[in-house]
């Protein structure tokens, strides 16, 4: 049962084939077996999970039939959970216990889910390999010598290894889609503003968006049904009616116009990955879709623009970690300046400090125009490229990542690491919804296919992804965990 999709589990729970308690016990057992090796969870909430499962079973017997009732989930450790440590992968917040729930957490609780625990992640969501976590690297279940991707690497690995039925993630430049691709699972980032950011520890406010990592597009649609909606507490959340995202999953793709960005099939893309994507296109053609090349002429500027805007916002967002009110404080500071300097030097890891420095520099007097202002202009150009493309096509398709999961420690050069997100970053800059779904393997490692929709066209993205999954089995592929038990 644990390997099944949320949709299937939901049906099994509804029919009484299994109880939430049994399911929860099974996942907890599996976490116990495999988490030592994979390191996907930072915190496991065994006791409260079982209590929630019991409560879910009870409400079901009282007639409650919410689709996610009793389904076990894991939250990325970036979401504040009342009474449960929320570290954001950092020493800075190692002992931080929030007194409140993030809106996403609140909404899943209201949907009746069981929270198994909090998943590992790159520190403050800064990374593409999950190697920057203070709590150690997460390993890719498909090959433990390899990274799971990042920053939502813990969530992706946990879903891939069936340590949970579904998980939340956040995506600032590809942090849901890239790990989903590396771990052979489905990862969805909604349009900016679709899901509330309240209670989500901020990295880059204008780019951060909460989403889902799960086993199918249908599951992602079910999760978005629970997560989406205007939140008065987040001024950037959008007052736009949500729909039942599962309602149009089975619409025909006949006549769907798919755009292929020429820039996503250029130098740097591994030939084997490219072949998998081209094979996927054939599937779409067989479903009645038409394929058209499109031009995203400013795509090559996206990584540079992103690595100005995101660090700039991060440099301010992370200023609150000063050792004064909560979080890490250095031992025996001699004065205020010493406390600031040492608390932040000791509390933050290398990558976080690098980005704070970069962001601070980009905003400094005399450099603002050359960096931050210019990056914002490029951001507008990139968005305009997408808007122009969507006048011609309904959906944009390409690889999620130029290659499959790389080996731990393989990318020691930060810039090489930043280029990991070459296909995903522009989508954040433009604020669009995007999904990564499994579309083949190369040398036994999963390949991710990315679909990008127009503003708030989440339902269309799910529809296109679901139809692919109905006609292929890549999302059913499972890593072999033999020998990993502890």
């Amino acid at each position: 049962m644990i390997e099944r999709t949320v949709a299937e589990i939901s049906t099994a729970l509804a029919s009484g084939d299994i109880s939430s308690v049994e399911l929860t016990q099974a996942y907890l057992h599996r976490i116990e077996q495999y988490n030592t090796d994979l390191n996907a969870f930072i915190t496991v909430c065994e006791e409260s999970a079982l209590e929630q499962a019991k409560a879910a079973d009870k409400s079901r017997s009282d007639g409650d039939c919410k689709p996610l009732l009793g389904v076990p989930l894991a939250h990325k450790d970036i979401f504040c959970t009342k009474g449960v440590t929320t570290t954001c992968g950092s020493r800075m917040l190692q002992n931080f216990v929030p007194p409140y729930d993030a809106t996403v957490v609140e909404k899943f609780n209201a949907a009746g889910v069981v929270t198994l625990g909090k998943t590992n992640m790159d520190e403050f969501a800064m990374g593409s390999s999950n190697e920057t976590s203070f709590f150690g690297v997460v390993k890719n279940p498909w090959d433990t010598a390899r990274v799971p991707g990042g920053s939502s690497g813990g969530s992706a690995a946990a879903v891939a290894a069936d340590l949970c039925a579904m998980a939340t993630g956040t995506d600032t430049g590809g942090s849901i889609r890239q790990p989903a691709a590396f771990c052979g699972v489905t990862g969805f980032k909604p349009s900016y503003g679709r899901v509330s950011r309240w209670g989500m520890v901020a990295f880059a406010s204008s780019l951060d968006q909460a989403g889902s990592i799960c086993k199918s597009a249908e599951d992602a649609a079910m999760m978005l049904n629970a997560m989406a909606g205007l939140d008065e507490k987040d001024s950037t959340s959008i007052d736009k009616a949500t729909v039942d995202y599962t309602a149009t999953l089975n619409d025909s793709l006949e006549g769907l116009k798919i755009g292929i960005p020429i820039q996503h099939f250029a130098e740097g893309l591994s030939a084997e990955v490219e072949q998998n994507i081209l094979d996927a296109l054939k599937v779409y053609e067989s479903l009645g879709a038409t394929i058209k090349e499109i031009d995203l002429p400013n795509n090559h500027l996206s990584v540079s623009a992103y690595y100005v805007i995101a660090p700039a916002e991060a440099s301010a967002n992370l200023s609150r970690y000063d050792g004064v009110r909560y979080g890490y404080r250095c031992a025996e500071p001699v004065d205020l300046e010493d406390m600031y300097k040492r608390s932040r030097s000791e509390g933050f890891g290398e990558e976080v400090k690098r980005r704070i420095m970069v962001g601070t520099y980009a905003l400094s007097a005399g450099f603002y125009d050359a960096y931050y202002r210019k990056a914002q202009k490029i951001r507008r150009l990139i968005r305009n490229d997408f808007l122009a493309a969507f006048k011609e096509v309904d959906i944009i398709l390409g690889p999620t990542s130029p290659h499959t999961a790389f080996e731990l420690g393989a990318k020691s050069d930060p810039v090489a690491m930043y280029l990991e997100d070459i296909y995903t970053i522009a989508v954040n800059l433009a604020g669009l919804p995007g999904i990564s779904i499994p579309a083949g393997t190369v040398n036994g490692l999963p390949v991710g296919l990315q679909l990008v929709g127009e503003d708030f066209a989440e339902a269309k993205v799910f529809n296109a992804a679901h139809q692919f999954q109905k006609n292929t089995d890549w999302h059913r592929n499972k890593p072999d965990l033999t020998g990993m038990e502890s």
Partner: protein
């Protein structure tokens, strides 16, 4: 050398909203430390700002009152610096697109002429908390009750030419914000704070001199003192061949001096950038018009009306309109008694004197406008004289009963019975033959003596006009 002083003021006004600029915490003054700080005010991870619409309306209200351009699209920015009482590590303010743009207000100079002072802009921002250095052995305490309180920072053009003008401008600003009911303007509690940019230049020179910014001025009196001190200091430096350093200075009211705050703080690069947690604030004409409709009559307009409607002198009208409450009080008195001029005298002299002596606000006046109107009405209808009225006024402080019953119970009613007055006059003339002789010999000054004696005998109650007439007749 003749020097000209150039002053621009930056005034922080605390808006009197119910809650903070971006959170639902109360902003009441004087609460126990940190009892008015919620998870957002503490800058817990994941918390986000939501703009207080009331504060926005108040800013627009101020903008309309000074005829300013209203920012139909205003943008909040982050101003970055580290300080323990700044929980987020940045202050949310407005840099390039403030809610209130260029406007102006007029002040009255000593010679009675009007002068227009430009307001460059007024932007919204959040206040910081407070660091408490006393009561903590070897440590500092942080109180975040004030953190996030909405402020309107009003920046003037360098149009002010003396400390007196600066004070007049500040008083005008104070009066306007009170009229608009957007702040209590209480300088002692910090709800109105002033920083002064001061420079001097040789008279006739058009280039501005190097300026200093003096902070921490928290009363009208100190504004004048601090500026005068700073002008004096700059003159001495320049006349000694030195040069002025552009810097921030702190006014020390205990020692009446400004001193340099030459710390690293001054060299801060605040790295402003648009606050990504808030969308630009876009308002439309109907939003602005709805606020325009609620604007009260402002002091300048009220003054003109008082001169026209009540035939007051410009000066008297000016005194009465300094505060909205005083003006409303005055109008209520007039409505009750019908005599505008007499009412103006009573309100601005007797009542104001009483309030000043006891340091009372007009709203806390023990004598209501209606009662004062009743008192004046009794002067008008000759029930009492103006002088006796002052005695009644005193009595009214202790006695809450009606003006008439006080006059009655104290027997202060004016004597208008001509028989009674005649009797008094006859007695005075009979008792002072020597003075009568002097008067009749042409020494008219003695007349006052008779009036005084007769008045005294009547215990002040004799109708003065009647008394005068009778005395004149009998002394012929």
């Amino acid at each position: 050398m003749q020097w000209e002083t150039v002053i621009g003021l930056e005034v922080h006004v605390q808006l009197s909203t119910q809650s903070k600029l971006f959170s639902g915490s109360s902003i009441q003054f004087g609460a126990e430390p940190n009892t008015q700080a919620n998870i957002f005010d503490l800058a817990l991870p994941g918390t986000l700002p939501v703009l207080n619409e009331e504060a926005l309306k108040m800013a627009v209200r101020f903008g309309l009152a000074i005829g300013a351009e209203i920012g139909m699209r205003s943008v909040f920015d982050r101003k970055n610096y580290f300080y323990p009482d700044l929980p987020k590590g940045y202050q949310v303010s407005q840099l390039d697109f403030p809610t209130v743009g260029k406007g102006s207000l007029s002040i009255e100079l000593e010679d009675g002429t009007e002068k227009t002072i430009g307001v460059t802009r007024a932007h919204m921002e959040e206040d910081a908390g407070k660091s408490l250095h006393e009561d903590f052995q070897g440590a500092s305490g942080i109180d975040l009750n004030r953190a996030g309180t909405p402020l309107l920072e009003i920046v003037s053009e360098p149009d002010l030419r003396s400390a007196e003008e600066a004070v007049a401008y500040l008083k005008k600003l104070h009066s306007i914000i009170r009229y608009l009911d957007i702040s209590d303007g209480n300088m002692a509690q910090g709800s109105m704070r002033c920083d002064a940019n001061v420079s001097i230049r040789p008279a006739g020179e058009s280039e501005l001199g190097t300026r200093t910014e003096t902070k921490n001025i928290n009363s009208f009196k100190f504004v004048e003192k601090a500026i005068n001190h700073e002008v004096q200091r700059q003159q001495e430096v320049l006349e000694d061949g030195g040069r002025i350093v552009q810097e921030t200075r702190l006014y020390d009211s205990d020692r009446d001096e400004t001193r340099s705050m030459r710390s690293k703080e001054v060299a801060n690069d605040y790295r402003y950038f648009p606050e990504p947690d808030l969308l630009p604030v876009v308002i439309d004409e109907s939003f602005v018009n709805a606020i325009r409709e609620t604007l009260p009559e402002l002091p300048d307009a009220k003054r003109v009306r008082f001169v026209e409607e009540y035939k007051l002198s410009d000066y008297d009208a000016g005194v009465l309109v300094t505060s909205r409450e005083l003006a409303e009080y005055y109008e209520a008195v007039v409505a009750r008694c019908g005599d505008a001029k007499l009412s103006a005298n009573w309100v601005s002299v007797e009542l104001q004197g009483l309030l000043n002596k006891n340091d009372w606000e007009i709203s806390a006046s023990p004598i209501q406008a209606e009662r004062l109107g009743d008192l004046i009405a009794r002067i008008i209808d000759n029930t009492i004289s103006g002088k006796i009225a002052k005695t009644v006024f005193e009595a009214m402080l202790e006695d809450a009963s009606s003006v008439d019953s006080i006059i009655e119970s104290k027997g202060l009613k004016q004597v208008t019975d001509s028989g009674a007055i005649e009797k008094l006059v006859d007695e005075v003339i009979a008792n002072n033959p020597e003075q009568v002789e002097q008067y009749r010999a042409g020494k008219e000054k003695v007349f006052g003596f008779f009036v005084g004696q007769a008045m005294k005998a009547s215990k002040g109650k004799a109708n003065p006009a009647q008394l005068n007439d009778l005395l004149k007749e009998k002394l012929k």
